[in-house]
């Protein structure tokens, strides 16, 4: 086989891998959306009795909804970004297969109603061996894609390795006979925090690629500082007992002190380089702007963490929203065109990004205001204690923003899946 034909075959496999990771990422969002419908059905009288595990399906569907819309979607997108530049597609193709099997295992466990739901922070789980096997396969699959030459994502690869190390260490250090809820919370706490460095790195890469701006010394430094910040997890693990309070608080403080600077540097670098050059009315500019706004709101709300009210969901909804809107922009503006499958008219994607970004902004703002007024997180109905007009209006804004964001999300999934599956 000639060098040219080997090169062509490699390129074909690379495109196949990228397409498969994108399919996995967007399908994860579609499944998460389907499970969100399941959440509603699980609270509907009569209908709830016909669900796989009756009314208990609510918490099980909620767990997998979060895992698919957060972990699977973001990690598959991370792997897709790695695939878009990596030179050797082999490990990535194996990785996407493992990750897909992992996702299917988790879905089967959910639909079969197996395992108890645990709504612990970061990676909620169904306490069943097959569910954990699914998570492990997903983690290995993404690692196979990320840890290879030519991805240009070395800092994210390092942060991801630290996160997996934290999960493994916690699993070894926490006794199996502990109370399951406490053990699962602590098992995913440390690595879950470090995964936020990965997610932040993901949005930094997305900003850079959307701006079309070549890496500078400052942007490279931002990634180095991100990797250094994540590495401080080693200090936490060496100094503290994972069952103690100091261990838990040190990870919270890790995000407060080590995480904000790298994205600020990257945003400053991208803005300084692109302010006059970038067409902010273009789709990429629009996605970049929406991401900056939503991400900034989420970052601000992060300083109210630990208050136990709805400022916590305000923080994470806005952070995820800011990451998501940038990634949606990358998928539509860069990755689909690189596969030769661009979306024809920019009109619908523009609406989609506006609806998703605007909806997330409203959703998070409503949560923040409700939290200021004292509405507790993770409560519903009478438990919320909506005893003032301010609280009622704030939670109304939450609902309105959520509905608008969901509409934007559905439009994204519909458009991208159509382009990935169908070829004109």
């Amino acid at each position: 086989m000639s060098t040219k034909s080997v090169h062509l075959q490699q390129n074909h496999l690379r495109m196949l891998e990228l397409r498969l990771w994108l399919l996995l990422a967007v399908t994860a969002l579609a499944v998460a959306g389907g499970l969100a419908l399941g959440l509603a059905l699980a609270r509907t009288p009569v209908v709830q009795d016909y669900l796989p595990s009756g009314p208990a399906f609510f918490h099980k569907a909620l767990v997998t909804h979060v895992v698919f819309s957060f972990q699977v979607w973001l990690l598959a997108l991370l792997a897709a970004l790695a695939a878009s530049t990596a030179s050797r597609p082999g490990p990535g193709l194996v990785g996407v297969g493992l990750a897909a099997i992992g996702g299917m295992l988790m879905l089967v466990v959910t639909l079969a109603g197996w395992g108890e739901a645990s709504l612990n922070n970061y990676v909620p789980v169904l306490d069943h061996p097959l569910y954990f096997a699914g998570l492990v396969l997903l983690a290995i699959g993404v690692a196979a894609s990320l840890w290879r030459p030519g991805t240009g994502l070395a800092a994210l690869g390092w942060c991801y390795a630290v996160a997996l190390g934290c999960f493994a260490l916690a699993s070894w250090r926490l006794p199996a006979e502990m109370d399951p809820a406490f053990r699962l919370e602590r098992l995913f706490w440390g690595g879950g925090h470090v995964l936020q460095f990965v997610n932040t790195g993901l949005v930094m890469v997305a900003w850079q690629r959307l701006s079309g701006h070549q890496p500078t010394k400052l942007s490279r430094l931002a990634f180095v500082l991100l990797a250094l910040g994540a590495s401080a997890a080693v200090v936490v693990e060496l100094r503290f007992d994972p069952q103690g309070l100091a261990w838990r608080q040190a990870y919270t403080h890790l995000l407060w002190y080590m995480l904000p600077l790298p994205p600020v540097l990257m945003a400053a670098d991208v803005l300084a380089a692109s302010w006059r050059k970038l067409d902010w009315r273009s789709l990429a500019g629009w996605a970049l702007l929406a991401s900056f706004w939503v991400f900034a709101l989420g970052g601000g709300a992060g300083f109210a963490l630990g208050a136990g009210d709805t400022r916590t969901p305000s923080h994470y909804h806005a952070m995820i929203g800011g990451v998501n809107v940038a990634l949606m922009g990358v998928v539509i503006c860069l990755l689909l065109p690189s596969l030769g499958r661009p979306i024809g008219s920019p009109r619908l994607p523009r609406w989609q990004i506006g609806l998703y970004g605007g909806g997330q902004l409203l959703h998070a703002l409503g949560f923040y205001l409700a939290g200021l007024a004292g509405v507790a997180r993770k409560t519903a109905g009478a438990e919320q204690g909506l005893d003032s007009v301010f609280k009622l209006v704030s939670m109304g804004v939450v609902g309105l923003g959520g509905a608008v964001a969901v509409l934007g999300g559905v439009l994204f999934v519909g458009q991208v899946l159509t382009r990935l599956v169908r070829h004109d």
Partner: protein
């Protein structure tokens, strides 16, 4: 070049400021016989039960943190001083009061001093199961 140096200095300052380097492990509180403390709390609740709530006199108030409640449902007088003595009964819980968090572990009692004018609400701050967010007690 100046931007790079400033960025590194800012990062180093934040890293040095990070409490993870010097933070000490919080004490778990006074070690007690869990069964005896549960019995003491039950006796206290039975003695001061008034209708649906337990109206505690000024002084020491024993409390249990368990899935998913702080028990008994104590009502305090806003103009009295109290010392809340809390122990986790079943698994690890925690409580944050005036910005200070205390881990609640079975077999150890943590003390919280309540002064006149305080308006405290106890909330579990350590995920303990599906009812975790319901685990709260308004003390007034």
């Amino acid at each position: 070049m100046i931007r790079l140096v400033l960025s590194v200095l800012a990062f180093l300052a934040l890293a040095a400021w990070w409490p993870g380097w010097h933070q000490a492990e919080q004490p778990l509180g006074q070690a007690v016989d869990p069964a005896a403390f549960v019995a003491q709390t039950e006796a206290f609740a039975a003695r001061y039960q008034r209708g649906e709530r337990v109206e505690a006199p000024a002084g020491e108030v024993p409390l249990l943190a368990r899935k998913f409640e702080f028990w008994p449902d104590v009502k305090l007088q806003p103009d009295h001083s109290y010392r809340l003595r809390i122990m986790a009964q079943d698994s690890v819980h925690s409580v944050a009061v005036n910005g200070v968090e205390l881990l609640l572990v079975p077999g150890f009692v943590q003390d919280i001093d309540v002064s006149p004018g305080d308006q405290l609400e106890l909330r579990c701050n350590e995920y303990c199961g599906l009812g975790h967010n319901r685990m709260r007690l308004k003390l007034y």
